[in-house]
Symmetry: C2
Subunit: 335 residues, 2 copies
Amino acid sequence: MSTIEQVALLAKVSVATVSRVVNNSAYVSEATRERVEQAIKKLNYQPNALGKLLRKETTSMVLILLHSVDNPFFATIVQGIEKVAHENDYNVLICNTYGDTEREQHYLKMLRNHLVDGVVFISNTCTSDEINYLNATFPVVQVVEYLTDIDAAHYSIDFYQAGRDLMDILYKNGHRSIGFVHTGSTEIVSSKEKFRAYKDFMKERRLPLITNYPDECLFGYANAKKIAGDLLDKHPKTTAFFATSDLLACGIIDELNFRGKSVPKDAMVVGFDNTSYAYVGKPNITSVELNSFQLGAMAMEYLMSKIKNKPVAHNNKCLIPYQIIERESTKKDSR
Amino acid sequence: MSTIEQVALLAKVSVATVSRVVNNSAYVSEATRERVEQAIKKLNYQPNALGKLLRKETTSMVLILLHSVDNPFFATIVQGIEKVAHENDYNVLICNTYGDTEREQHYLKMLRNHLVDGVVFISNTCTSDEINYLNATFPVVQVVEYLTDIDAAHYSIDFYQAGRDLMDILYKNGHRSIGFVHTGSTEIVSSKEKFRAYKDFMKERRLPLITNYPDECLFGYANAKKIAGDLLDKHPKTTAFFATSDLLACGIIDELNFRGKSVPKDAMVVGFDNTSYAYVGKPNITSVELNSFQLGAMAMEYLMSKIKNKPVAHNNKCLIPYQIIERESTKKDSR
DNA sequence: AACGGTAATGTAATCGATTACATTCTAAAG
DNA sequence: CTTTAGAATGTAATCGATTACATTACCGTT
């Protein structure tokens, strides 16, 4: 790899002139420019970003921290973030933390080290204090998942109300034995709020809770089936399920089918996030559309304002409207 | 943000000593160490990685370039890559290129600029010459998708043979009117090889080709249904479909159901990649398991060897075994 | 010829670390 | 009381860029 010095040497000019040619930043005579460009081509010179970044104080890159990209729901948020980033000539780096604090800290070091200009948390394992500290020093924003009791901005939806809306659908369809099924972390705001919605709804109607939450929250599709099976063993008369994701809903339907029950005739199921699983699953699954592209875009807009020290356009603790998408899994007359 | 100089000043030592404390790299007396650590704590000092990286020539980070994380199939490859990376104290940055050359070039600049130590291509838009050049200068590896006529290493499977195996299943089940459905890029080796397998298989048996490939390769689920619909309009007697992905297979099954045909009774369908769609879809879909976790791990092992200048353990143009997973969508006696 | 203005280029400080080399200090050995 | 090894610390060069400031070259005015 050649350096600016080698180029300067070959072109018989100073490094300053080479820099001027590369960055088009000041007067350079046509003849010199030509000579420098020749030298650059000959040496196949690529400016080393480290030198540049060390001098400048900006990188035109932001980090996206999330649990893992294997959830297709996250992909849409990322796309929203990327759209706004690209409009601002920024690029994004996506990092899987797998909910591992140590790994998250490693990536956050990139922020503290000025290797990136800001961070979007789609999920995090930080303490409130830590995010508060980061937020005081660096551009930081949370999207979809967020910590409530902190200064950092967030863009999300009202998971509690969305949860109640789903419960309403099941209830209005006559269901009284409604189960709540969740896998994965119980520490995230979405799962807490969904459960609070379920719990409140059932308690207000003096109905018994039927759930694995939060005692046994394994991960993945196979475990979803197992949990649904366990609940059905304990509460065989359960006729409706609130699953906290579409994939879980698919697992529950599978288990119901396995036990000879058909959806929505014998039991109804709702999911969450309106991912492709919601319409790939048979029957299609009633779900909640979060407008995650828009959420990602709004969060990134906020972050860009912070980075560029401009006033922030919208409220920085923002819950935007969601849509309930009713599908076959809660339609009485279907099939 | 405080610098090493401020710490040195506060602790009344030289920057060299601070650096020694931080990196534990040479003799430092207990008393001094204490004093420096106090100063670090008081100033909340975080070493600026740029300074360090500029001096050192390694970053302990690699880039993963792929089309977009919205394909859950990629997530497993990434996990394999990450496993080996973490074992070597490396971290990975995932970058969506959306098949956009310009964006890809931007990220590759990070490689040329020494912001990362190497690159894993899961898909690329580079020319052969470009990859050859990169490969000559930097640690580079391709996984799953690859360019054939170049020096760079790749880890993948024999898509051609896998395609023929799938065709065999459909053929042995008595199907003669077999359609081939693809959406997305036609420029990638997997789609080329799958199609070649289909074409050869059909031609050897003097059967007519029924396909949209490569004339009209739109993206996504909705388009899959449309394409399947078009093929069925033109060739109503088509009784089997080779879909190049599981999600496509789901779309085709949907369209078949819409037209009153049931799978596998009236028509059979096979997918590819053995993603969660393959078992979420109803009926479950026969697919090809690529062992993508292992592929990712092997590719990253190769990359680590290159980065550390160690001899490479396995052949660097490697096609590993795959598995055909037969499910309901090709089972004659099912339902 | 002297002057001034501007275009063109160069010099050297700077960013924040690491580290080769130099220097000082300490304590044990002779 | 030297001598000396090696522990402890400091000085300054270095990585590869950018850029403030200095300098030179050139040209047109008066």
